[in-house]
């Protein structure tokens, strides 16, 4: 089983984690002014990158904290993990 490095707990088995999809999707600054189309993009549309992808994970059965990772979606290999307060990594 693949080991995932939790920034707080260290390497743990993949089954301990919950996937959270694309990372760094900010809540809209001006939600009241958004058009339907802009809301649709915030709610439903996410990048579906083939290759290096910045995404969120939760260590569900460990510390229960969220963190970010860069993972290659073709090899599934984790390149790095980072805490939520770390800056957004450059993926492409």
């Amino acid at each position: 089983m693949q080991l995932i490095e939790c920034p707080w707990c260290g390497p743990r088995e993949e089954v301990e984690f919950h996937y959270g999809g694309q990372a760094h999707v900010p809540y809209p600054d001006n939600p009241a002014e958004l058009t339907d189309e802009e809301w649709a993009h915030y709610v439903f549309f996410r990048d579906n990158t083939k290759g290096r992808f910045a995404e969120r994970w939760n260590h569900t059965v460990g510390c229960r904290r969220w963190f970010n990772a860069v993972r290659d979606t073709t090899t599934y290999r984790f390149e790095r993990v980072s805490r939520l307060d770390d800056p957004k990594p450059v993926t492409s």
């Binding site: 996937y19 999809g21 649709a40 549309f45 996410r46 579906n48 995404e55 979606t73």
Partner: protein, 419 residues
């Protein structure tokens, strides 16, 4: 010692001996021309079916199907071949039932044996909420002319004696929905049947031809760039399943699908033990027995995005635990092989079909875990849409703009595979 002549010696059945021989010739392997009226990106089931119906229903044959690998080598070669139409909403029932009706005449249409076997599907209910949802779906199916019934546990036992219907298991069987017209088909033969027909009609099936970009002019796509040169196109249809967003990223518009690994596996060959199809939402397994004798079992999707055509082993482990609890008789069956495909999952577990920001580019994706059953149905409707440059009414509800209008078609319940 002489045997009584009435005594027949039982010889073991050779698996696959009753399957039809392959024909000597299936399709040409043409060089791409420089221009086509219609270019279909993706030579899987949906692309090939679209090509077939373009020729058959509309007489459009100046068509190329571009496939980056080999024909029908993606999800068409990796699915669990289940065909059914017992979806909840009117929109879904219409497209899947249209497809099922086409399946019922497909062998004749294609002139090719596809081994379509209508052996029925049981969708098990394990909780009171499952029961309520299932009964509701049965009633909805009936209103839409889809054959469906609610069966109690003793009837489940009659239809499929090997299901464990005892009450002391973790997920007891409280009943099931049953669609007798559901079935399985031999997926490769289906693809080859469509491909052969399309080829006979003069359509070019071009393998080893990866689309690497598009040429556009304003709101029109003028052609595709490929690993085998540029090809001009009057109209373009995307039938690329898990790789759809790789293409739409090149075109600069977004589609709300996420590509996930979806795994399945087969056991060694067994004597016929499993007469129908059994699916279970709650424990994430669906099982049928293929014509040759292997048990074919599918899992839920792997949770993370992935393009690797393989998934994590713990998914398989959980799926087997569920299968063995439901079918104790499988406990000693050996697993022969497992594999993964890449499925494009949409937010409401319904497909995304129709128009795009480009006037002559049509989208067909988001079928997620259930695209195989739709093969003839979507091929028919997409061909009609391309030929008339107007959405076929059956696919109209599945437009990309439903995510803006809010008119979602939520089929998470009937999709029956954990997303």
């Amino acid at each position: 010692m002489r045997l009584d002549p009435s005594h027949t010696i039982r010889t073991p059945r050779t698996p696959g001996v009753d399957l039809p021989e392959h024909p000597d010739f299936l399709w040409r392997n043409p060089e791409p021309q420089r221009s086509y009226d219609v270019v279909i990106v993706g030579g899987g089931g949906h692309g090939l079916a679209t090509a077939h119906y373009l020729a058959k229903n509309h007489g459009i044959t100046n068509v190329a199907v571009l496939e980056k690998g080999w024909l029908a080598g993606g999800n068409m070669a990796r699915n669990t071949t289940l065909i059914r139409s017992n979806y909840l909403w009117d929109e879904s029932a219409a497209i899947y039932e249209h497809s099922l009706k086409l399946w019922e005449g497909l062998e004749e249409d294609l002139g090719y044996p596809i081994l379509f076997s209508q052996r029925g599907v049981l969708n098990l209910a394990h909780t009171l909420q499952d029961v309520r949802d299932s009964v509701r779906r049965v009633e909805a199916n009936k209103l839409n002319g889809v054959d469906a019934e609610w069966v109690e546990p003793d009837e489940v036992r009659k239809i499929c004696p090997i299901v464990n219907t005892s009450t002391d298991i973790r997920y007891p069987v409280l009943g099931a929905t049953y669609q007798p017209r559901a079935g399985i088909a031999k997926h490769d033969y289906v693809a080859w049947g469509f491909a052969r027909r399309a080829d006979e009609a003069g359509i070019d099936l071009i393998q080893d031809c990866e689309v690497t970009g598009f040429t556009t002019e304003g709101n029109r796509v003028t052609g595709v760039r490929t690993s085998r040169g540029d090809i001009a196109a009057g109209q373009v249809a995307l039938c690329a399943a898990g790789h759809t967003t790789v293409l739409t990223d090149m075109l600069g518009f977004r589609v709300p699908v996420q590509s996930h690994p979806l795994q399945a596996l087969v056991s060694e060959l067994l004597e016929p033990v499993h007469p129908t199809i059994v699916m279970s939402n709650a424990v994430h397994v669906y099982v049928s027995q293929a014509h040759k004798g292997e048990l074919v079992m599918g899992a839920g999707v792997d949770s993370y995005n992935g393009y690797g055509q393989r998934g994590a082993f713990h998914i398989i482990e959980r799926q087997m635990a569920a299968a063995v609890e439901l079918f104790p008789v499988f406990a000693r069956a050996h697993l022969l092989r497992s594999w993964g495909g890449i499925v494009d999952v949409s937010p409401d577990a319904s497909p995304i079909v129709g128009r795009t920001p480009y006037d002559n580019l049509f989208l067909n994706c988001g079928w997620g875990t259930g695209g195989f059953k739709a093969t003839p149905g979507i091929g028919w409707c997409l061909a009609d849409t391309i030929a008339n440059n107007e959405l076929h009414p059956t696919v109209a509800p599945f437009s990309l703009d439903r995510f803006v209008t809010g008119a979602l078609v939520d089929e998470h319940g009937a999709a029956a595979v954990a997303h």
